[in-house]
Amino acid sequence: MPTRRLILKTGLATIAMPAVLRAQSLSGQITLMSYSGIFQDNYTKTVIEPFMAAHPGVKVNYAPGGSSAQMVGTIRAQKADPQVDVTIMDVTTSTIGNIEGLFDKLTPAEFPVLDELLPEARAAGGEYGPAVTFDNLVLVYDSALTPPLTKLADLWRPDLKGQIALAAPPNIQGLALTAMVEKMEGGDYRKSIDAAMKKLRALAPSVNTFEPNPDGYSLILNGVVKVATGWNARSQIYGDQSNGKLVSLLPPEGSVFQINTINLTAGSKNRAAAAAFIKHALSQPAQKAFTERMFYAPANGKAQIDPKAAARTAASPENRARMIGVDWNDILKVRDQWNNRWRREVIAQAGR
């Protein structure tokens, strides 16, 4: 005679069966291309491994792709025979891929998780792959610096002469800094960057390098400079790893979001598994796990982030209020112009 427990179990099994069958029917390999280093390490642990545990038939290969521009270059070169199924890259380059037809459009019918995303996450990719993480530009500095940095305007302090590493355009850190300095000077980057150029020209002699290699964090940790521009997520991680030697500051004058989108390659050889991975990457558990591990602000608005971790991202209301509304598509159109102005009006002032 069927017991109540048996009926309940049978009912639950019936409800779960389609999902179980879907998970079991996925098989083969997919290749995810994205950033190397700590991004790869943490993304593998928090997103890829749980996905593979849920889909035992699917193997996700992680292909470190260098910079976002190099990644879109790789996808472009493989257009006739795609070897990469999913890419996570900066929105400025994924937009190029979208226009060139390198990526597929994602519909809410196929990807219901899209409806859980923040409006700005959906807007970032348009009809294509949406934002998967948000980061923001910060100032990073040596904790031994006295007095510590408290605002963007502190970069012009005389004691920091020769102690600053900042990534000039075309690096997007330089583009973001331009918009931030323009705002600090009371302007709006959409209208003009004259005020930013004037101010940055005055900063040029204090800059040790306009091209930090391997990056600004390392230069501070090795004592080459005291201040650098950086991204919040990596700054938080390196700050922890260096036992607080590296401190990050979200300038009260404002900062700019850096957006990574997740993109499905057109002509993917294992589209079903790639689509499943994208759904997983945008899901609440994956977004929560990665944010709490690496302090990228989540794209899924329903992800319940630990408040302590959220406070270290741009997701907290206080930090979010400091963000300057930047449309990267607008900046893409003037990138070359800004780049030339930096070279002629800023870097040239720094001496040979």
Binding site: V72, R76, T93, A168, V224, R343
Partner: protein, 280 residues
């Protein structure tokens, strides 16, 4: 078929290899040079000269050319000034250590360019060996700016091309006839006069060959200007990389790459022509 007539067949493997890894990609590069880039950075398939026209209409292209030529000239001159006496010593010495000394001279070729550059950062940086020594001797109060500028790039580049120039000089010194120098000395010429009137003129073809090689290598050098330049040194090689991998602007990168290739071929041809004339 005689042995002489069969000889060109020896070139076949290398020829096919070059065709596959060099000629075909160069043709693709040429194709890319005719493409265009839209306002958002997306590449548009085309067969137009718009990208090339715009690139050459931009004064910055000529600034890049001048920077590349100037940097190559200074680095080659410094490298030559250091390599020539060293090579002459290696050529002339009868020491049993000669072989080891020659290996030491070209040893930097065996080390990765990136590692060498980071070595220079440790030596020339604000807290590096040179500044540390000068400060400890009380000769300077604040560190000299020796990296992340033209000075650092010139030093690093000169060092990186030296081994190649030493090899070229050693190969070219074959025409140096010791008996002519001895004749000069026996006729009463001082060592300095003998060097200026006999040794130097006889080694001119080797100098031109080595300088040509150093110049061409400097023109195409990327790692040193990129890592030691601190974003202040703009040359053709760094711009090509920047356009291809940061701006995603393959058409401009292709135009600049082909332009640089043409410049290098002209420079090589001139260098060979000069060396041949001097040998006569």
């Amino acid at each position: 078929m005689s042995a002489t007539r069969r000889l060109p067949w020896l070139l076949l493997p290398a020829g096919l290899f070059v065709l596959g890894i060099y000629a075909w990609p160069t043709l693709l590069l040429l194709r890319n040079a005719f493409n265009e880039v839209g306002p958002t950075g997306a590449m548009v398939e085309a067969m137009s000269l718009k990208t090339a026209t715009e690139t050459f209409a931009d004064g910055f292209t000529f600034e890049l050319t001048w920077n590349s030529l100037w940097l190559s000239a200074t680095a080659t001159t410094i490298a030559l000034a250091l390599s020539y006496p060293l090579s002459l010593f290696l050529f002339r010495t009868t020491s049993r250590w000669r072989g080891i000394l020659a290996v030491i001279a070209i040893l930097p070729m065996l080390i990765s360019g990136v590692v060498r550059v980071f070595g220079w950062l440790a030596i020339l940086g604000d807290r590096g060996l040179v500044n540390g020594l000068l400060q400890s001797l009380g000769l300077i109060s604040a560190p000299l700016k020796l990296v992340f500028n033209w000075t650092g790039v010139t030093i690093g580049l000169a060092e990186s091309i030296m081994p190649y120039m030493i090899l070229a000089l050693l190969a070219g010194f074959g025409q140096l006839d010791r008996t002519l120098e001895e004749a000069s000395r026996s006729l009463g010429a001082s060592p300095a006069r003998t060097f200026l009137r006999v040794t130097l003129p006889l080694s001119l073809p080797a100098i031109v060959l080595a300088a040509g090689l150093g110049f061409v290598l400097s023109m195409s050098a990327y790692i040193t200007p990129k890592l030691l330049g601190g974003g202040r040194v703009f040359v053709l090689a760094t711009e090509i990389f920047e356009q291809a991998t940061t701006n995603t602007n393959w058409p401009v990168a292709a135009v600049l790459a082909l332009y640089t290739l043409a410049l290098l071929l002209v420079l090589l041809a001139l260098s060979n022509l000069l060396a041949r004339r001097l040998r006569r």
